[in-house]
Structure formats: C-alpha cells, structure tokens
Amino acid sequence: MCECLETIFKKFKGKEEELIPLLQSVQEEAGFLSESAMRDIAKFLRIPQSKVHGVATFYAQFRFKPKGRKHIMLCRGTACHVKGAPRILEEIENHLEIKEGETSADLEHSIESVACIGACSLAPCITVNNKVHADLTPQKIEALFNKRMN
C-alpha cells in the first residue's frame, strides 16, 4: 500500500459507511481510483472488493483512469447543449485523438463531460484545469489546442 493511502486511511475509522467519503478522498489525492487503491480500501473497510467497485462505478464522480495534466471538462447542460456542445466535443475529440472519458497516452489531456458547470451565460463552454473558456466555436477550439500544442 502506498504511503499516501495510509495517510488518508488514518483520517477514517474503517467503518463500512465511510466508503463514499473515502473514495472521494483517495480520488482527490490520486486523481483517480486505481484497482490497487480500491483493493486497499476494501481491505481497510473490511467489505468485499466487488462492493467497492459497484459503488464507485455507480457514481459519475469517480474515475478509474488517471486524469491528463490538462483535464478538460465539457459542459453538457441545457444551455450549452442548445448552443452546440456536441459539436464542440466532437471537435475536441478530433483534435486530441481521444474520446470522451479517455486520457491521452502521454497523459497530457483528458476529456470528461459534466452535466453543468454553472456558467450558462457563457455557453457553450469548457474548463481546462478549472479555467473557463467561453462562447466556444470549432474555430476557437482549434486555436485553443493548437496554441497549446505549439
């Protein structure tokens, strides 16, 4: 078990009902839930591994692959959707050659779509590492990611 997990576990009692907060803490620290981390969590809480997997996969908030250094969150809220979010997603996917929910092989980029980022007036919008990019168009996407690549 890695040290960071041990540090996190120290903050918990090892009770079954702590599963979700524990998963959140581990994800916050590690960026995602690895299989070995989930195994350790199951052992720590003395619950079956399959249960940890079941709960973790139930909630959209948990991810099982590492995030990219630039994590893109694409808003799929109503306003963004109406203003062309699907087209924006397609454009990002084409540019980065990865699909939604994936991380690029070099761990540079990852894409996640979220229900709403609460910036409807700026639709369609994305965040890259929590920085909002607003009023997007395919051209802007191209510029955004080309600039980054240069």
Binding site: E35, M38, P48, S50, F58
Partner: protein, 891 residues
C-alpha cells in the same frame, strides 16, 4: 414459532408468524409471480412481480417483503395488479434477448413462467427496447458462461455469492441502462476471485448464467461425492454409460444442496479415456495387458510366498468401508500380519493418538450442522475454504448468525476475510500458542470449574506446568502479539459455545500429537466439549478416511479401534474369521517404507494411493519401492506410484460401485452405483476377495457390498445399529449401537470414552520442529492445498476445467523475501532442500509471512514432497510435511 391465520384469495391458511405472504402462498401451492425470490436468500423485492393487495391497506404490497399478520386478507390478482405487473414485465423483456427456443434455460425459465402467467403486449415493449449494444458473453470460466444480454437484474447471483458463498465475487456495476452484473474491476469471471462453485448458476432464474456442458441426464443416482471428507450428497446424472451431471441434494443435512467446484463439476475423470481398463503385468520392464485370471493367479502365488512380516498392505481412504474391511481382513486373516495402514498416517494419525488419550475417541466431536449455532469458531491449522469448502460455508453462515471467528494460521488464508481475530503464528509453534491461550484463561480464571471438577482429571497437576508459557515467551516463539493471544483466549473462553476446527496444520508435525493434546486441553479447560455446537473438530481430508480408520485399516487395531494386542479382541476376531491372528502390532505407513528399503518387506499390496507424490521425502519412497520383490497396485488411473508396480489392477471408481463412505462427522452414508464399471475394471472388494479365494482362504465369498457391511458392523459395537435400509435416505452417525439407536450427533455428552469416563489434561512442553531454516537453507517451506485440486490430482487433473482453473504449482513467497531473493511473479526457481530439488514458478503474495514459502503437492511436475522431511512424530509416526528448510535459486 407462533401461528397466524391469513386468507389468500378466499382460501384460509395457517402459517408461521415469521413467514412472508409469498412464502405462505408458495407453501400452499398458490402461485404468485416472482423473479428475484429464492428460498435460500433474504428477500429484496426488486423485481416488483409479487405485488398483492391487502384488505384495509391502500395501494399494493410486495408479497416477498411483507410478513403475514393475523387476520390478513390478501388478494393476489386484480386488473390493476396485472396491469402493473405487465408494464414491469414488458420493461424487463425490452432489455432481454428473445431467443427462447435456443436458450439453455428454455422450459426451465422463470421469466417464461411469469410471462405466461401475466401476459405481455409485444408491440408495446418493442418500442421500449434499449439501444445498448450486444455485450459479449463472458466465456472465461471453464464450467459456465455469463450472458449479460439475458440478465434480468434480479440479483440472485450477487446475493448467492454473498449470503450463501460468502465470496462476493459479483455485484452490480455501473448505473441506469449500463448496469451489469460485474466482478471487481469488471474483469472476466475467471480472473476474479470467483471460486467456480456454480451456486449462482444453479440459482439463475433465466439463461444468463448457464453451465457450458448441458447434457440432460436420462436418470439420476443419489450418492456421495468422492472428494474431501465433508461427504456432500449428490445426484449423479447418467446418460447411457456416461456421467453427465452432478447436483447437490437439497434434502441432505450435510450440504443442503450446496457443492464446491469439485463436487459440482469435477466428475469428468470417471469417463476419462486414461482410465485403467485391463490388468497389466510388468514383463521385462514393460507393462503388458493380461487377463484377470493371469493377474490374480500370479498375485496369489507371489503373495503366498511372502506371508507374515514379509508382507504389507496400504489400504485406501478413497474406497468404501466395505473395501477397507476386506483389505484389512485379507491382510490379517490370509497374510497373517497386522502390517496394514493407509494414508491417514500422513494426515490425522495424531488426532487418533491424541484424542484417544484425552477423550477416548479420535473423531470430530460435533456435526457439521452444529457450526451454525456455534458462538465462537476457532480455526487453527485448517485452510477450510480450500480443503473443506462446504464446512467453510457453515462457518461463514455462523458468522452471519453473529458468531465470532478466530483464525490461527501461519498463512493469511481466505477465511481471514471473515475472521474477527487473525493470529499468524510461525509454522510449528502451535503448542506455544495454545498454551499461551490456556495460560491467559487460567490466570484470568475464565475456566469452567464445574466442568473440570465433574468431568476431567489431572487438572491440578496440569496447571502447575504452565510456568514456561508466559505471554512474553509465547510471543517470542510464535510471533503473535501478546494482546492478540489474550484477546483470542478471552473470546474463546467466554463467548461459548466455542468449537475448534483443525486439520493438517496441527497434525503434520513431529509434535503433531502434542498439538492435538494442546487443543484438547484448551477445550477441556473451558468446558467446550461434550455439548451441542461446542467441541474439537478435526476435519478429515479424504472422502472415507474416517471410515478407513473405523474399519481397522490401521496396524494396531481391528475394526472399531479394538486393539489387536488385547486377547479378548483377538479371540473375538479369530472366532469370527475362523483363523489364528497375530497379536503383535503391525508397522505404520512410514515404517513400512523403511522396512521395504531394508529388504525386510518383500511384497506390498496397495489399493488406491499414490505415496510417490504424497509421502514426505518422496525420493526415499521411490528408492524403497524399486526394491520390492512384488508390488501390486490397484487404482483407477496409472499413477506415479503404479509405475513401480509388478502388477496393476484396474479398479472401479466411486460412481461404479455400491457401498458406504463415513464422512468427517462420523456419518455413514450410502454410495450407489451409477454406471457399470468402465471396461474390465472391477470393484476393489471383488478384487481383494478374488486374491484371497485364489490363496485358498475362507470367508471371502461375498456377493455384494451389503453382505460385507453386515459382517463388519456385526463386529463393531459402534456400527451395530447401522444397516443399508436405515441409511437409505439419511446417513447415521456412529456410535449407533442398536437398531433403535438414532445415531450420535455429538460425542462425550454424559461421559468420555476413556476407561475412567473422564477426560484427561495432559501437560506438555514446547518442542521445536526438526528442521528449521538456517544460513544454508534460509526459508521455511510449508505445504498447503488448492481448492481446485484434490490430493495428488490423479482425478482432478483429468477434469479439463479444474486444470484450467489451477494449472500449475506456484511457490508462494512474501514480497519482502521475493525482493531479497530477487524473484518476481512468474519467474522459474529451483527450490532445494537437503533431500531434493524441484523447479517451480514464483507467485509473490502477502498470504505468506516473511521467511515462509508454501507449495501444494498436487502437481507431479513439481513434486513438493521430494523436498519435505520424513522426520516423524514419535507416537503417531506422521511425517513433518508442514515444516522443512529450503533455499531458492533463480533459474
């Protein structure tokens, strides 16, 4: 349980007050549609099919979740109820494959049954069909498939794996439309922790989980499983002359329908093409096919020239009681010697020698079923889930019923997941550990004074000998923290009834008898013996090892543990068998091998055993066997040992003969012939009787197994009340002295079987194992078992699926040791001891503590017993296969 009166659709019903409406209805043959209900599982109410209306209550109730109440009036059908059911059912169908006629479950499908009852509108649900693409069938498991496209999400498999099996390999994964039954990490089933028991497969109401081999049998025969000592009752399915299925008998008190992977899927060996088919005689070093007459006449001539101390026989813990009786009778009455033993010498000899001293009888004191009501289960030196899977289910069930579980084992075995306390002692230090617990109980005055004064002797002397076992010194010896030892002692002593479970980890030591005595001391001290659900329970390894001992396949006793050196016993058997008998003890299994090597034993008759793989220091065994003048092996397959034989006789398997097996809880159960013996093979008792008759002996004219049973049970008081008629449906547990006796559920209720009627405390000292690691051989090798194989794997490796699930020997090694020796998963290493070396693949695992490595002995390619040491317990003569020193070299 109080009764209540309810009314279902106008029919008055009286039922137990804890029943649900659904249970009450089904019991009374009233159908309420249901999909997620299973009688073995707790109700969850997820399928919404069993909606009913209850008078006076608004809306609908779920019948499987609603407990009955006095005067309740239930309506199980109405236009409204059916409309709800119909919509729900259509939604299930919308997500279900529609290929009924080619589905494995066709005609046996609960979804079909419910659909036929409720009726659906195809047009409506076609529109609702989800767009989820076809999910590939998980075919990774060799015995069954998982087809997600047919899954109805009833969760019966998930709950079975949890509530029945306690493995939790499955759970729901993902959410909404994407929900699937999933393993951890969504891996193929074979790569998960699934034990392949198939309990979920037999419970799946639709065709989502289904066995790969699906031949329907033309008839079924009730018999007893041939693996392990639990003695599960099974129905073997027969089609033509082949065994095509096996299913658990739900009415059986032993296994209640449950089976492990070997019992459910491990029957293919019976019809395997490699079965021995005709007698073989070795001529110029090559085995040549022979007729039965040739082989038997040759044996009769050769045996006649090697009578008395020149002869020895190894009987078998796998053949029936009747066959063991005949082999020992042949050895004693015809060959004139008590040189008969069997592999119990290598497993539970210390149990017999130890428990006979203290309690007067060496067997499991309680019944398997009693574990359900035990409050503390103390499992020491038993990898129960691997070696006795169905007993492990009882222990896990006890845990669900609120029991505490203490596991003491050098390795972190699967049962640890369910344990409240885990004591990881260093191999071979059990006496110290147990006496540490005893010391705590004595110091804290937690012992049962009344029980000790009324039913035990030697207590005063005993407690004065505990000086050496202070917790500090015990911690130093065992490596178990003092606090843990004390906690375990308190738990065991105060949370009764407590039951001890043990197996090879206790017995296979040079101080195996001491270990057993230490266990009995602990049980006596707390009064946890002679009571329901409290006792000392040695788990016997092979299907009939209890019976082979009971039938006298031992060098010092006649059937029923009647000592051969007591004149009264000798006279009794001389009268019964009409011959003069030897009053000297014969020699044991390990001693027989040594005497063969010294040239004193010339002829050996061996029934169904494989000592070249199973005996400690196997090279020594091979050397000895090659010195024999005449060696007869009787088996169902060509084994590594049979290669040394002069004559090999093809025997019939358990599926091809009648007889009885005695399981670990002393229950004598009927074994029934399902098919005719393969090719020219013959039942073991027929073969032995033929040899005896050809040597001119009287008293071997048996025409069936029952005649043998009658003779044997007539000579053993404990068996006297057991007849084939009485055990036709349910086996009886000995002692059963009369035809009216009900059998004995647990032993030592009123008095112990010792001469004084009292149990005895025995003081002990801690002795170290013979060969401990040193500079040259720095690691301690201990042996264990795999769930998927049985003994030397002569049968299980003939079953393709079991071979796939566990294909090769692995050396389990602690990560720290792996680092120190620079080896990683999958590396091939040479493991060397002072006696031999074997090549094996490495598996790095936390289950082994630092400094300890472990291997099974299932694989002839990596014969672990070429490494083990043949140092023996001075009383029981069992070799120390649990502790020897080795080194590893990377290849």
């Amino acid at each position: 349980m109080s009764k209540v009166n309810i009314n279902i659709d106008g029919i008055p019903i009286t039922t137990d007050s804890n029943k649900t409406i659904l249970e009450a209805a089904l019991e009374n043959n009233i159908y309420i549609p249901n999909l997620c209900h299973h009688e073995d599982l707790k109700p969850v109410g997820v399928c919404r099919m069993c909606m009913v209306e209850i008078e006076g209550i608004r809306g609908q109730a779920i019948a499987c979740k609603t407990t009955v109440a006095e005067g309740m009036k239930v309506k199980i059908d109405s236009t409204e109820i059916n409309a709800i059911r119909q919509t729900t059912l259509e939604l299930i169908h919308a997500n279900h494959a529609q290929d009924c006629t080619t589905c494995h479950q066709n005609n046996n499908c609960q979804l079909q049954e419910v659909t036929a009852y409720v009726g659906i509108n195809e047009k409506r649900f076609e529109r609702m069909r989800k767009t989820r693409p076809y999910i590939d069938i998980d075919t990774s498991n060799p015995f069954f498939n998982l087809d997600h496209n047919k899954c109805i999400m009833c969760g019966i498999c998930v709950r079975t794996c949890d509530e029945v099996q306690g493995v939790n390999a499955l759970d729901y994964g993902n959410r909404g439309f994407d929900t699937v039954i999933s393993t951890f990490g969504n891996k193929p089933i074979k790569e998960s922790i699934c034990e392949s028991c198939g309990e979920c497969v037999v419970r799946c109401p639709v065709g989502a989980l289904y066995p790969k081999l699906t031949q329907v049998p033309s008839r079924e025969v009730k018999t007893v499983c041939t693996y392990c000592g639990v003695g599960c009752n099974i129905f073997l399915g027969v089609r033509g002359d082949k065994i095509v299925s096996s299913r658990g008998d739900r009415s059986s008190i032993v296994n209640k329908g449950r089976l492990c992977v070997k019992g459910r899927f491990g029957y293919d060996f019976v019809n395997h093409p490699d079965r021995l088919k005709v007698p073989l005689i070795k001529k110029d070093g090559v085995f040549v096919e022979a007729t039965w007459d040739e082989a038997l006449d040759l044996i009769a001539t050769k045996f006649a020239a090697a009578k008395k101390e020149k002869f020895a026989a190894f009987s078998s813990a796998r053949v029936t009681n009747e066959e063991n009786y005949v082999v020992q009778k042949f050895t004693r009455a015809v060959m004139g010697t008590n040189n008969i033993d069997h592999c119990a010498r290598l497993c539970h000899a210390p149990t017999v020698s130890g428990l006979v001293q203290t309690f007067g009888s060496g067997a499991m004191t309680n019944s398997i079923d009693e574990f359900l009501h035990t409050k503390t289960v103390f499992s020491i030196g038993s990898n129960t889930t691997a070696a006795h899977p169905i007993i492990a289910l009882h222990i896990k069930q006890a845990k669900r019923n609120g029991a505490k579980i203490i596991v003491a084992n050098p390795k972190q075995i699967d049962l640890c997941h369910h344990a409240d306390l885990f004591l990881q002692q260093y191999p071979g230090t059990d006496v110290a550990l147990l006496f540490g617990m005893i010391r705590v109980i004595v110091d804290e005055k937690l012992y049962d004074k009344k029980f000790i004064s009324e039913r035990c002797e030697n207590f005063e002397a005993f407690i004065t000998t505990l000086e050496d076992f202070s917790l500090e010194s015990v911690e130093k010896i065992t490596g178990v923290p003092q606090s843990l030892i004390a906690e375990a002692a308190r738990m065991y002593a105060t949370n009764g009834p407590s039951s001890i479970v043990y197996a090879m980890g206790i017995t296979q030591h040079t101080h195996g008898t001491d270990n057993v005595l230490a266990i009995s001391n602990l049980a006596l001290l707390t009064g946890n013996i002679g009571k329901e659900s409290a006792g000392v329970n040695p788990l016997r390894g092979q299907n009939n090892v209890q019976g082979a001992c009971d039938m006298g396949a031992l060098p010092d006793v006649y059937p029923g543990y009647q000592k051969v050196n007591i004149p009264a016993n000798q006279q009794k058997f001389e009268a019964a068998w009409g011959v003069k008998l030897d009053d000297k003890f014969g020699i044991t299994h390990t001693e027989i091998i040594t005497e063969i090597e010294h040239g004193n034993i010339k002829a050996l008759y061996q029934v169904g055993e494989n000592p070249v793989i199973s005996e400690a220091d196997a090279n020594h065994v091979k050397k000895a066997l090659s010195k024999l003048d005449f060696f007869v092996v009787q088996d169902i397959f060509m084994t590594e040992t049979a290669q040394f034989a002069h004559v090999i006789l093809p025997a019939a398997s358990f599926a091809e003969k009648d007889g009885t097996f005695t399981n670990t809880e002393r229950r004598v159960q009927r074994v029934r012939k399902a098919i005719e013996p393969i090719s020219e093979s013959k039942t073991d008792w027929w073969i032995t009787c033929q040899i005896a008759k050809r040597m001119g002996a009287q008293g071997f004219d048996f025409s069936n197994a029952e005649e043998i049973w009658k003779e044997a049970s007539g000579l053993v008081t404990n068996y006297a009340g057991i007849t084939y008629d009485r055990i036709d449906k349910v086996g009886l547990q000995w002692p059963c002295p009369t035809l009216e006796h009900e059998g004995t559920k647990f032993l030592h209720k009123e008095k112990f079987a010792t001469p004084s009627g009292k149990a005895k405390f025995i003081p002990l000292t801690y002795k170290i194992s013979t060969e401990l690691p040193d500079k040259e051989y720095p690691l301690l090798l201990t042996t264990d078992r795999s769930l998927f194989h049985y003994h030397t794997s002569t049968m299980t490796r003939k079953v393709a699926g079991l071979r796939i699930l566990d294909e090769e020997e692995l050396l389990k090694i602690n990560p720290a040791d792996a680092k120190a020796f620079d080896v990683k998963d999958g590396d091939m290493v040479k493991v060397k001891s002072r006696r031999g070396e074997v090549e094996v693949k490495v598996k790095v695992s936390n289950i082994c503590q630092r400094g300890v490595v472990s291997m099974t002995f299932h694989f002839f390619e990596s014969p672990t017993n070429e490494l083990t040491i043949c140092a023996v317990d001075p009383i029981a003569k069992i070799p120390e296969t649990k502790v020897c020193a080795v080194k590893i070299e990377k290849m």
